[in-house]
């Protein structure tokens, strides 16, 4: 690996970590779309800052752009407070308007500004190592590395010193208020951090990828765990892996690094979405199927319990009268038999002693409206689950 390659990966990793931390809290606070809004509406701040400083990584520009980000949040909240439109509409109105102002400002001064809108939106990580940070003639590495490194450092300091406050205000803002730390302060603090991170990262990876780096690792982690510390850890890990994986994918395809990192993030999320234990699509689907078949079986057992006559207990009855399809009827019967709830003699189904006991208890729970107790009953009675 050459030196620029190492530097690019280092920057990508720092950006990933710096984004994953505020992103986790944004996802938990149901404010993920705010990060999208901020990433677009910082444009006028960047343009004004650029007019003044002529340097995309100067601190003044970062401050101005971050201020526009916070301004967006304030405007969204103001519109929301008037009650005229819902919050999501407010977000959708504010950021395109601010973004348009930025685009027009650039267009009107196209001759004196060497700033592309697509550079802001898309970024180009590959060029980051060329912009060096020079102090008195010594080369201290790429500027982007310093910018994002200091932002990450500040984020980490804030995270460690306000972790408890952040946690409480995220999950129970009323409790936070009664305990004496202002939820509003936490809210705006987080918004400011998110804005600063977005601004610091955009020129390396572009504004839209910042959104991906904030939301995707946190969402992936949220599918895997419900412990805040673990979630932060997983989010950071996913971010780091995607940064490195994305770089090499881009290297292989000779395509945009930012796009490749996002695609790897997408793969991570997709995998978690499908395979996450308990929360993933497959396990949710299996749980639903199991629930359905167990409820069917319970219904059928209750039916047997109520009818002594043979015609109602014939094996074809399931298909003819209860109108279950063949496969479903079969699996219900199999489940009931595996659990020793029924015996089948000459195509006539009858409850076993265990089946009688099970249905008696179930009826008791259902009539006393304690349906949740059924789950523990299942654990007690079932040898096999559906």
């Amino acid at each position: 690996m050459s030196q620029p390659q190492i530097e690019i990966q280092l920057i990508a990793m720092l950006v990933a970590v710096a984004c994953a931390i505020p992103g986790t809290f944004l996802v938990l606070r149901k404010m993920a779309m705010i990060s999208d809004a901020i990433s677009h509406s910082i444009l006028p701040g960047i343009v004004i800052g650029f007019f003044i400083t002529q340097d995309l990584s100067s601190p003044l520009l970062i401050v101005l752009a971050a201020a526009t980000g916070v301004l967006t949040v304030v405007m969204v909240e103001f519109i929301q407070k008037t009650g005229l439109v819902k919050e999501d509409t407010a977000i959708g109105l504010v950021f395109p308007a601010l973004f348009s102002i930025g685009v027009i400002m650039i267009a009107r001064h196209a001759n004196d500004v060497h700033l592309d809108v697509d550079a802001v939106l898309l970024g180009e990580l590959a060029f980051a190592p060329f912009d060096r940070f020079m102090v008195g003639g010594t080369d201290l590495g790429p500027k982007a590395l310093w910018v994002i490194g200091s932002i990450l450092l500040i984020t980490l300091i804030l995270l460690f010193s306000f972790f408890k406050e952040l946690k409480v205000s995220t999950f129970d803002s009323q409790l936070a208020a009664t305990l004496g730390f202002s939820p509003a302060l936490m809210h705006y603090g987080l918004m400011t951090t998110a804005s600063v991170t977005t601004v610091g990262a955009f020129d390396a990876v572009g504004a839209i990828l910042v959104v991906a780096l904030m939301i995707a690792p946190a969402a992936t982690a949220y599918l895997l765990t419900e412990d805040l510390k673990k979630m932060l850890g997983i989010a950071v890990g996913v971010g780091l892996l995607s940064a490195i994986g994305g770089y090499w994918l881009a290297n292989y395809l000779d395509a945009s690094i930012a796009g490749a990192i996002t695609s790897v993030l997408g793969l991570f999320f997709f995998a978690a979405f499908l395979f996450a234990p308990h929360r993933g699509w497959i396990s949710v689907w299996r749980k639903r199927r199991r629930q359905r078949i167990e409820v069917s079986m319970l219904t059928f057992l209750l039916h047997l319990h109520n009818h002594k006559e043979e015609s109602e207990r014939h094996i074809d009855h399931l298909q003819d009268h209860i109108n279950w399809q063949r496969v479903r009827a079969k699996s219900v019967l199999r489940l009931a038999r595996n659990n020793n709830m029924i015996v089948i003699e000459n195509k006539i189904i009858s409850l076993t002693g265990k089946g009688e006991q099970f249905t008696d208890e179930a009826i008791q729970h259902i009539t006393s409206d304690k349906t949740t107790a059924l789950e523990s009953m299942k654990d007690e009675f079932f040898l096999f689950r559906g």
Partner: protein, 374 residues
């Protein structure tokens, strides 16, 4: 070219006419369909869909190997729909909230699209696949066939809207009830969403990915303030949308270096601002007036009730009392005394006041919800 010149040229100049017609039509159809998005609280879905369309455009290019607008549109439509359904599936099957799902799909699809686009640019037969065109839109590239396409989509949306008016309306306001009535809500829902995706995809070429959501939302949000009736809102939103399109085109044609998309969005944002402030009933000014009026009424009531408590203690309720009594009373002012006198509820001079018969009766019934008419 200034604005007057623009309007005089509008009927003679082919390019100007095409672009104006295109943006006006787009504004109208976006306003119409955006109304549903705003009312269903799916405002940001448009933003997500417009970003999610990008990989479709790139894939269409990779498969077709040519720059063909209709292939691009088809690709965009498919990937937009794929994004929409994935968002639904995330919200339905996992505990992630809708904002997370929207943000995820938006950025992930867009990033993947960007990867494909940059990959295409390295391919031998690719001479700029036009990523930028779809990012920011170029109204200037609209040609007559685009206008016809937009026209047919608008017409189709209108016909579907009229055919399914009842279903759309009931789904908007009470989805559970719709289900119990036996309507196929999933079908209506998919129909509505598909048309929204179609409108967004059409708009990509004109205003671009980033600003598309505003095209969808702004006219509808503005129209919402003026009325509580669905059909009025839709008509108004279409009108606002068309006017933003025309206005934006006029302004951007009148200055150098102004791209049309952002100007249209700003004009639409102007409509929203005006509606927020001036709309009767819902607008901020109307809200403020109502607030002040309520406060004044309350003050008068309070003063009257205070007077009643004093007058009650006296045998003759019209017996005059000293104004000095009000010294410790919050909310008393000469002005409110005058107002009460104007309404003939009290009489007063420099030092003394007394309730009139009318005033006494009204004060007695002040907190009575069902006053008995004599």
């Amino acid at each position: 070219m200034d604005i007057q010149e623009y309007f005089s040229l509008l009927f003679t100049d082919y390019t100007l006419r095409t672009i104006t017609l295109g943006t006006a039509l787009l504004g109208a159809v976006c306003g119409m369909l955006g109304s549903f998005a705003v009312l269903r609280k799916q405002s940001l879905l448009g933003d997500a869909i417009s970003h999610a369309a990008l990989p479709g455009i790139a894939l269409a290019f990779i498969i077709m190997q040519t720059k063909n607008t209709s292939a691009f549109l088809l690709g965009a439509l498919i990937s937009g729909l794929a994004g929409t359904f994935w968002i639904r599936s995330i919200v339905k099957n996992t505990h992630l909230k809708s904002d997370t799902a929207l943000g995820l799909i938006l950025s992930l699809f867009f990033g993947f699209g960007m990867l494909l686009m940059t990959y295409i640019q390295k391919m031998p037969n690719a001479n700029q696949a036009g990523l930028e065109k779809y990012l920011f839109g170029q109204a200037a590239t609209l040609v007559e066939s685009d206008i016809w396409l937009m026209f047919w989509v608008t017409l189709g949306a209108l016909i579907i809207l009229l055919l399914f008016w009842k279903e759309f309306k009931i789904l908007l306001f009470d989805p559970e009830y719709t289900l119990t009535l036996g309507f196929n809500t999933r079908f209506i829902d998919v129909l509505m969403t598909s048309f929204m995706v179609l409108a967004i995809v059409l708009g990509l070429q004109t205003v671009g990915v980033v600003l598309m959501s505003a095209m969808l939302l702004a006219p509808a949000a503005a129209a919402r303030q003026w009325t509580d009736k669905l059909w009025v809102m839709i008509v108004l939103a279409a009108l606002f949308g068309a006017m933003s399109g025309i206005g934006g085109t006029a302004v951007s044609a009148s200055y150098n270096n102004l791209s049309t998309g952002p100007v249209i969005v700003l004009v639409a944002a102007g409509f929203v601002g005006i509606s927020f402030i001036f709309a009767p009933n819902r607008g901020l000014i109307a809200q403020r007036i109502r607030y002040v009026k309520n406060r004044n009424d309350l003050k008068l009531h309070k003063t009257l009730a205070f007077m009643y408590e004093i007058a009650k203690t006296h045998e003759d309720f019209q017996h005059p009392h000293a104004i000095k009594l009000f010294n410790n009373f919050q909310g008393y002012s000469r002005k409110s005394m005058k107002k009460l006198a104007e309404k003939n509820l009290i009489t007063f001079d420099q030092k003394m006041w007394s309730l009139t018969k009318e005033g006494f009766e009204q004060a007695a019934n002040l907190y009575n919800q069902n006053p008995q008419k004599p």
